[in-house]
């Protein structure tokens, strides 16, 4: 039997079954296992086709990223959908999944809560990271285009997407940079009014330099200059960043007067940027601010550079402190994010209950209409056509008004606790009608 990670909950019974979610993420499974359990779009199609052959699985959707693979199902409630889903999706790929706690399972309301938390970034490795929302959108679109999801899962995933947006707008859960690259952007934005007007000089051509350059370009930096001791590596970096211009390494000090942001990330054992060169560049820049970011260990920029007026020297420790500050702010808003998610979970529950109530509402409406028609037929011979039409309209309006509040109540739109539908059937005599075949 599939291990469950202790998140048992009440089950929402829809008209045609129950919600189920199972999966692995960065907390429950190591990277090697997650790699084996990852599904490309083509593999997802194969998986879902296989699962939908089972009568008890009505709807399905898959979310597969570098940090999680999750399967969302709507099952009929007759038979066990969990075991075949688990075995087909995970156990067939790796027996390591059988270890306790590796695979989490959610049912009912917890499926909705989990989906909303994932889309909001609360379950991500970096709290509030934005990429997951795009990934959920893609998963939802894929499920809908291929006909894997139906009204319930499609609505659930759409609800997760809108909740993810709402949480990010109304809390600080996604605010502030939490990576080195974006921390450099945040520092630049605290100095310069428009990143589009800035010129960035990257000293070094390694991976760290590339990430910083890419972050700055993505956020709109105007110009990018690259310089590296080895020209070949600089050329390789420019191949990945076509907007960049290469500056000969010997000319890097002269290039300083053009640059507003300097990012140094080399393997040099001695500083590559010295205070006198920076001071000379600042004289040419007529006091305009310069942001110097030293990502090297040992340091690439002479610490004395930080003493020069209008030069702001930041190093790895500073970036880490900024990232930690931003993470703290995100964590501080976690409770509010969770409160918003609970509101949205309740909204989804009400919608789901409304869906489950639809057959009862249809039956009630049919019964009321039958009664109305029966009474109208008795009056037809007694009234002239004009009066009959008036009575017809009046009774129609009366029936609608009488059923308006019960309709809202049964859909959960009034916010009251949902009633026992069997009781409602008895109250309106619908069970007797069913027995009599009406």
């Amino acid at each position: 039997m599939t291990p469950e990670s202790g998140m048992a909950s009440s089950t929402i019974e829809t008209q045609a079954g129950s919600l189920l979610a199972l999966g692995v993420d960065h907390r429950s499974a190591p990277l090697e296992l997650r790699e084996k359990l990852s599904y490309s779009p083509e593999q997802q199609a194969e998986l879902i086709t296989h699962l939908r052959r089972r009568a008890e699985i009505v709807e399905a959707a898959v979310l597969s990223t570098c940090n999680r693979t999750e399967l969302y199902l709507r099952a009929t409630g007759d038979g066990d959908a969990l075991t075949p889903a688990f075995e087909t999706t995970f156990k067939a790929r790796s027996s390591e999944i059988d270890v306790d706690g590796r695979c989490f399972v959610f049912r009912g309301t917890d499926v909705a809560r989990h989906a909303l938390r994932v889309a909001s970034g609360l379950e991500s490795m970096v709290l509030g990271e934005p990429e997951i929302l795009g990934q959920v959108k893609k998963a939802a679109a894929r499920a809908e285009e291929n006909g894997w999801s139906g009204p319930v899962l499609a609505n659930l995933l759409q609800h997760a997407i809108t909740t993810g947006g709402r949480v990010r707008r109304e809390t600080a859960i996604s605010s502030g940079a939490v990576s080195f690259g974006y921390a450099v952007v945040e520092l630049a934005r605290s100095i310069f009014s428009r990143l589009e007007d800035t010129c960035v000089l990257i000293i070094g051509a390694g991976e760290t330099a590339r990430l910083a350059a890419r972050s700055l370009l993505e956020r709109g930096a105007g110009r990018l200059l690259i310089t590296n001791r080895g020209r070949r590596r600089a050329e390789q970096l420019r191949a990945q960043l076509p907007a960049a211009e290469i500056v000969p390494y010997a000319d890097r000090d002269r290039a300083l007067s053009r640059a507003d942001v300097v990012v140094a990330s080399t393997a040099a054992l001695e500083p590559v940027l010295l205070a006198p060169a920076v001071a000379a560049a600042m004289a040419e820049r007529r006091g305009r601010a310069l942001l110097a970011v030293d990502l090297g260990v040992p340091r690439n920029i002479d610490p004395a550079v930080g003493q020069i007026a209008n030069v702001f020297l930041q190093d790895i420790d500073t970036l880490e402190a900024l990232i930690e500050r931003n993470l703290k702010r995100r964590r501080a808003d976690l409770q509010q994010a969770q409160r918003l998610i609970e509101e949205e979970v309740m909204r989804f529950e009400r919608w789901l209950s409304g869906l489950a109530a639809q057959p009862l509402l249809d039956q009630l409406a049919r019964h009321a209409e039958n009664l109305r028609r029966h009474e109208l037929e008795r009056l037809r011979r007694q009234l002239d056509p004009q009066s009959f039409a008036q009575v017809e309209r009046a009774t129609d309006s009366l029936v609608r008004k009488l059923l308006h509040h019960p309709r809202r109540f049964l859909r959960g739109a009034t916010g009251d606790p949902l009633p026992d539908r069997a009781l409602v059937r008895r109250m309106f005599g619908l069970e007797d009608l069913e027995r009599r075949g009406r």
Binding site: E170, E186, S190, I191, F192, S193, G287, N310, F312, A321
Partner: protein
């Protein structure tokens, strides 16, 4: 009318307090409703203040600058007005809580110092006098606003220079914008105060042809103008930027306070509240 004036005088600090509260909630707590309500609240305070100054003028039939209370109240109005213009220019409300707190402080002071009947000065009835005092108040307000931006600039500069990230970091406009707003406010203040000196000279020549040139207030104001003029010229030439300008703004603000309080109260014959 005296009752109306008394009521508005009591209400004005509360209106400014409401505006400061809204800007403060927006700045420190990122409160959405406070952010939406902040500008309407400050507009309401300004409208009420303008009504108050207008009623004062009508009541006493002279420009409302005959007492310390009136002058400080007019200065509070000018500071709030200049801030609103700078907010529109800079498209940032992040500095509202700081600038409007200064306006609130001035208005509180004015409310506390209020006296019932100001002295009547025939010279206050001259339209040229009204122009002179209005320009002077706008000039002072410009320097007050510049000093506030100077303080905020130094705050952010300090955070970046020392790699420490206080509440101000990331919430205030970037250094370049603060520098621009500071220089803009200085420029406005300088132009207005220069206009005030010129109009004051014309007016004084008519009413006090002998010896106005040696009045301490005139001398201090000319010295202040010269100081700001040099600062602005150095900035325009690119020799001075950012932190030195911020310090100069704060120093100028200190001189301005001295001029407004000590000189007006004790030293000046022409600008005293006697």
């Amino acid at each position: 009318m005296d009752t109306t004036l008394w009521i508005i005088n009591a209400l004005l600090p509360l209106l400014y307090l409401g505006a400061v509260g809204a800007y403060g909630l927006s700045f420190f707590a990122d409160h959405a409703a406070a952010r939406r309500g902040s500008r309407p609240l400050v507009l309401l305070a300004l409208a009420g203040h303008l009504a108050y100054l207008t009623l004062l003028t009508l009541r006493w039939q002279q420009f409302p600058a005959a007492t310390v209370s009136q002058a400080v109240s007019a200065l509070a109005f000018a500071v709030a007005l200049v801030y609103l213009l700078v907010e529109g220019y800079g498209r940032s409300r992040a500095t509202g809580v700081w600038l409007l707190s200064v306006a609130l402080l001035f208005e509180l002071l004015a409310a506390l110092l209020r006296s019932t009947a100001p002295p009547h000065f025939e010279r206050f009835e001259s339209p040229l006098f009204a122009v002179h005092v209005s320009l002077a108040l706008i000039g002072y307000a410009g320097f007050v606003v510049a000093a506030c931006y100077g303080f905020l600039f130094l705050r952010v500069y300090h955070d970046l220079k020392n790699a420490s990230f206080s509440t101000f970091f990331g919430t205030l406009p970037p250094l370049e914008v603060l520098d621009r707003m500071m220089a803009g406010a200085l420029g406005c203040g300088f132009a207005a105060l220069a206009g005030a000196v010129a109009s004051g000279a014309v007016w004084a020549e008519r009413f006090f042809p002998q010896g106005w040139q040696s009045d301490p207030k005139v001398l201090i104001t000319l010295a202040t103008l010269a100081f700001y003029g040099v600062v602005l010229a150095l900035r325009a030439s690119g020799r001075l930027r950012g932190r030195p300008i911020a310090w100069a703004s704060l120093a100028g603000f200190a001189a301005l306070l001295f001029s407004l309080l000590a000189v007006n109260l004790f030293l000046s014959r022409l600008h005293g509240f006697r």
